[in-house]
């Protein structure tokens, strides 16, 4: 019972820390995002926020255990805190958009949510239209998750990611409920290839992440890993196929043409455009302390660092 209360206290403290990054920033972003996109029709909002969806998808599909070394039978219990960051480059700051009639229907380059000021277009009749301004100025989009890995049974490890949303809403009024759940497995191929010079493993991961009623996502990843250990250091690499599906649900508060009775409740389905990546990284084990860092290159570039405790 004492152990249970201690763990519960740990979760309580952990909630506060996790708030700063995984909750405060996405939730602050959520308020800005909601205010911004509620004014946009579903056609206009897609290009504007696609880079945010891409960076979120790249982040959440990062940070899986890097080493391919999994014993046929052994004991692994490791709690990690994984920080990820997707680089936001110039390509993520602009997109091509079309102004409403009567303005020219020639697409113009304007700001995404990561960009600067929106482009302005003029009409010979003396009217002007400005696209929405960018709202987030950052060189990278961060994310942090907790991760628990257990194993090894028949050369297989199980990895879990979990954050219960009610822990936040029970303590902070009007805070959106944020929840994370992820489960994945990795299976050693090296156990079937005893003399192979490197460790090989394959795996898959499934996650869900949501913020209130506004943001729902599902992410899947399938990967192959190769690694080699040298005393305390392990170097690893791999290839990964991944998908991210995001649903934004909001009420369109922008104008409708007179007499237009279109439903203002919008459910917008978006997909992350990052589908394939190559990963390279290294880790070091210092007793019960495990540190690792890797970088992945796909449609976007993602870096992750992990701090783990356990065996």
């Amino acid at each position: 019972m004492k152990g249970y209360h201690s763990f519960r206290n740990y979760l309580r403290y952990y909630t506060v820390i996790l708030l700063f990054l995984t909750l405060i920033i996405p939730s602050k972003s959520q308020n800005v995002l909601e205010d911004t996109i509620e004014q946009l029709s579903s056609d206009a909002v897609t290009g504007y926020i696609q880079p945010m969806v891409d960076s979120f998808g790249a982040n959440i599909n990062s940070g899986f255990p890097g080493s391919a070394r999994i014993h046929r039978l052994g004991l692994t219990v490791r709690l990690q805190f994984i920080g990820m960051a997707t680089l936001i480059g110039d390509a993520e700051k602009t997109y091509m958009a079309t102004a409403p009639l009567p303005f020219s229907q020639q697409p113009v380059e304007t700001a995404t949510i990561f960009g600067d000021q929106g482009a302005s277009v003029s009409h010979p009749a003396g009217i002007e239209y400005q696209f929405q301004n960018g709202q987030i100025n950052t060189r990278y989009m961060p994310f942090v998750v907790p991760q628990l890995t257990v194993g090894d049974v028949f050369g297989t490890q199980l990895t879990l990611r979990y954050f219960p949303g009610s822990l936040v809403t029970e303590r902070i009024e009007d805070f959106p409920e944020i929840s994370l759940f992820g489960v994945g497995v990795r299976h050693s191929l090296s156990q079937y290839l005893p003399l192979f010079p490197v460790d090989l493993a394959v795996g898959g991961f499934y996650q869900t992440f949501s913020i209130g009623d506004f943001f729902d996502s599902e992410a899947t990843a399938f990967f192959a890993r190769v690694s080699k250990s040298f005393l305390l250091v392990t170097v690893y690499g791999g290839l990964q196929y991944e998908t991210t599906d995001v649903t934004l649900s909001y009420t369109y508060t922008g104008p409708l043409p007179p007499g237009d009775q279109s439903d203002r409740n919008i459910s917008l389905a978006l997909q992350g455009e990052n589908q394939f990546r190559a990963t390279a990284g290294a880790g070091i084990g210092l007793g019960v302390l495990h540190l690792n860092a890797d970088i992945s290159v796909g449609k976007v570039i993602v870096a992750s660092v992990g701090i783990g405790f356990g065996i």
Partner: protein, 179 residues
Amino acid sequence: MKQLSFCIVIMLSLSLVLGNGCDIAVNPLLFNGSPLTAEFVIDEQQTSYQGTDQIRLGNLLSSISETVDSIKVFNITLRIEPMTGTPENLTVSGSIDVDNQEMVGMSNLPISLYENEQSIFDFGLAQYLTGNPALVPHLNSLLAQPVLQTITVNVTGQASDTPVRLRIFVTLYTQVYTS
């Protein structure tokens, strides 16, 4: 407890490192003002017609709670809906005035061209409509005033046939720049 403190330090360090340099709400938001529509119901057995309606400019801010920096017109539309009995090939000539400024002059305008809402700035219909280049600056100046006024919209004209049974809608679209 020591392990817990250590975990807190780790998480806080990660959070501070990764969260550094991320600025949110760096530019003011733009909003679309609520569309403002003047509606005229014309029901005449003679060819001449006229109508008057009012637009409360303040209503364009009805769904906006942010601090307003400026408001600009980006479109004005016209829709003419024929009611039962109106001749199909009816044309109209006349004008629509906004706050005593001519908005458009119409010359033998087939009402069928405006059965669906269309912008008065659509130059494809220039043979039927003549605009007033002073209108938009005038409206923008009204929208720049600290207290938004109520303005009057008038339609007057002559139709090519009778009866003249029309609903005419003039709608003002604006962008609201917040600070």
